[in-house]
């Protein structure tokens, strides 16, 4: 056998092997192609499945959103339904309390106080529940504005003494002088501090509660640190672990012994987080607790709502003579929002000088001041023929009320200043006690009656309308000096009334204060701030506050001729 033949055979075998390999490769390729096609099909099927599932999930989500919306609507309307009668309970108990002095049976007073206290407590709970449900629904809005931190601190400190007194606690504020300003939500910061302080006051007996604040400068901007420490019952680590959960207090007996819903801290925590900060706690059972709130000086959240513009000095000028900065800050803010121009004097001599220069409509005067005290200032003011007629409100921690009146003071308030009381006093100088007309629009007869009684006690005449149509009909005939307007009414509601009033030239400048039990959205608040002078939540304001605002509004310009026409029209 030749080598050539061998090689030829071998070549032939190799050739066939190659062809076989090619065939196998082709078969494998086809198999891969088919497998790919099957995979593709499976993939398409899976995508179809995913689409179906996504649609199901989306439907479930929409359903959940609808359910959540229904829950929010229910809560909003429920809160409205609850607040309206509560408003009546609180309002009437206040009327009775005020009048009980003249009653034959003054022993009813403590009972009335209990009714009012329980009403206010219930209102607080409703507001807390509503707040929490809004937070959970992501509907809690932030209203960012410039805050004078020291002023806020003073304001909070002025509010809490009654709370502190209840359990015989000593209260102390330690404010660093250079707290500066912050851009945040004032109402929420205030609520955070009040929640913590009321909490401390509740769980401390015969102890000491300290509120301190400082400004920290950090790499990522300034921070404000508020600290509330108490010498109360304290907490165990287990209790601290569930501290911020809603409806969870230390244990069931806590609720029995100390009251409350356990919502306050949950809300506090949420508010801190919303404002870009946090709240931390240190505690030891039997020793006390310390809550530390850290908030960025500039709240980092976008989409802020601009605060309504202040009317500068339309209500008049008030000269504040006081050597304490906190009083200046508090009055500047409280009077400023009500349209007063505030002029500041840090001492007696400066005060007299400014009184001559500015000729204010009213003066608030501190008694205890270094060098030239309030008594001396009051004597000089009353001795000066040109300044004698300016009403002076004494604002002081102690002093002799009789001596003040004897020296010619118009009113007397104790520190810390209750801004509502001061506004009430200022309003009285302005509006006098003439026959001034106010139109009350509310569908709830009890509320109308209550407002009538509150307002007529101040010497104003009151016309009533049960709905928007009736209100416009009265407005068509007369011109009130101010309108107190409810929002939720059958037929034409308060929004429509306000909108109509602001469109009509003859009604445009009639001041309107909205008193509503409705849970307002951010849009509604913004709209109302543009169209009404003031918005009050039913039950969440004091009578003196309402009266003060109406005083201011009336003081800004109405005449008795208008009032007479109004009275005739209304009757």
């Amino acid at each position: 056998m030749s080598t050539i033949e061998q090689l030829e055979r071998r070549l032939e075998r190799e050739r066939r092997a190659r062809k076989a390999a090619e065939r196998i490769a082709e078969e494998k390729t086809r198999e891969i192609f088919d497998a790919n096609a099957r995979l593709q099909q499976l993939n398409n099927h899976l995508e179809e499945l995913v689409r179906q599932r996504t649609a199901e999930v989306a439907a479930a989500r929409d359903e959940a959103v609808r359910a959540s919306q229904a829950k929010s609507d229910f809560l909003a309307s429920m809160s409205h339904e609850l607040r309206t009668p509560l408003n009546a309970i609180i309002g009437y108990s206040e009327i009775l309390l005020e009048e009980s002095g003249d009653l034959v049976r003054p022993e009813l007073r403590p009972d009335l106080e209990k009714i009012r206290g329980a009403g206010k407590h219930l209102l607080g709970l409703i507001n807390d529940i509503l707040d929490l449900s809004k937070i959970e629904a992501g509907k809690m809005d932030l209203f960012l504005e410039e805050i004078d931190v020291a002023g806020l601190l003073a304001d909070v400190s002025a509010t809490v003494p009654p709370l502190m007194a209840k359990n015989g606690n000593l209260f102390e504020v330690r404010g660093n002088p250079d707290l500066g300003t912050a851009r945040s939500d004032q109402t929420k910061v205030r609520q955070i501090l009040l929640n913590l302080l009321s909490n401390a006051a509740k769980f401390t007996k015969q102890g000491r509660i300290i509120l301190s604040a400082k400004r920290l400068t950090g790499g990522r901007g300034d921070y404000l640190e508020f600290e509330v420490s108490d010498t109360g019952i304290g907490m165990t680590p287990e209790q601290m672990a569930k501290l911020y959960s809603a409806f969870s207090q230390a244990d069931a007996s806590t609720t029995r012994n100390y009251g409350g819903t356990g919502l306050g801290l949950a809300i506090t925590k949420h508010f801190c987080l919303m404002l870009g900060g946090d709240v931390k706690v240190q505690s030891e059972p039997g020793v006390g607790s310390t809550f530390v709130v850290t908030l960025p000086a500039v709240c980092p959240i976008a989409g802020e709502t601009p605060s309504p513009e202040r009317a500068e000095g339309t209500a008049g000028t008030v000269l504040v003579i006081d050597d304490e900065r906190t009083t200046h800050d508090l009055l500047e803010r409280e009077l400023g929002v009500r349209g007063y121009r505030v002029v500041h004097a840090g001492g007696g001599r400066e005060g007299l000088h400014l009184a001559r220069e500015v000729r204010p409509d009213a003066i608030t005067l501190d008694i205890i001041m270094p060098e030239f005290d309030g008594w001396a200032v009051l004597r000089e003011l009353k001795a000066d023929a040109e300044l004698r007629s300016i009403p002076v409100v004494l604002v002081t921690i102690l002093g002799d009320r009789e001596m003040g009146y004897a020296l010619g003071a118009a009113d007397y308030l104790t520190k810390p200043v209750d801004p509502d009381a001061l506004l009430g006093a200022l309003g009285r100088f302005h509006a006098g006690n003439g026959d001034v007309p106010v139109l009350v629009v509310d569908d709830d007869p009890m509320t109308r009656e209550m407002l009538r009684r509150i307002l007529s006690k101040r010497g104003w005449s009151v016309a009533e309308a049960a709905d928007g149509t009736a209100a416009l009909s009265i407005l068509g005939r007369t011109r009130p000096a101010a309108v107190v307007l409810d929002l939720m009414m059958p037929g034409m509601d308060g929004f429509e009334v306000l909108d109509t009033m602001r469109r009509e030239a003859k009604w445009r400048d009639i001041p309107v204060v909205v008193v509503t039990a409705k849970d307002l959205s951010a849009e509604e608040v913004t709209w109302l701030n543009q169209h009404a002078e003031r918005v009050f939540q039913k039950g969440a304001y004091t009578r003196s506050e309402l009266v003060g605002v109406i005083h201011d509004m009336i003081a800004r310009g109405t005449g008795t001729s208008v009032s007479r026409r109004f009275m005739e029209g209304a009757r």
Partner: protein, 184 residues
Amino acid sequence: MKGIVFTEFLEMVESKFSPELADTIVEGADLPSGGAYTSVGTYDHREMIKLVSCLSQETGISPADLMRTFGLYMFERFYVLFPQYFDGIDTSFQFLERIENYIHVEVRKLYPEAELPSFECDTSQPGCLRLTYRSTRPFAPLAEGLIRGCIAHFREDAEVEVEDRSNGQGTAARFLITQRGTLS
């Protein structure tokens, strides 16, 4: 049987003996495939038995010895062709223990229809590996050659005792491998 066994076998015959001898046994074996093997193909294992038998006749070496020799040769070829199976393997025991659970698993991914022998390992005795071979085909001597090739690859000194478990059929055997040390 996978084509690679045939192509490697013929290449061994060509290199260890001669291309002429390879041609002779292919022609003389009367193979259904005609001896045109491709490594990616699959062929009847009886063709291998015929080829070995022909080679035995031509060389006078027993078929079992030829298969053992082929096993030794084949193991080194494995190392050249599939180095990935040797990653992280330092001893013959490590490699042999991986045949069943790793190498055969990988083979089945590529050739789902492959009929593979089983290699059961028993390492209960330190320094000893008891490996039981079972197959539908009589290639126990080939398995022995591969085992010896493995030990040689890792340059180890080990004793391999073979115990036939198939009454001389060559379809089952137990190999007792005992380490003596490492060759320097």
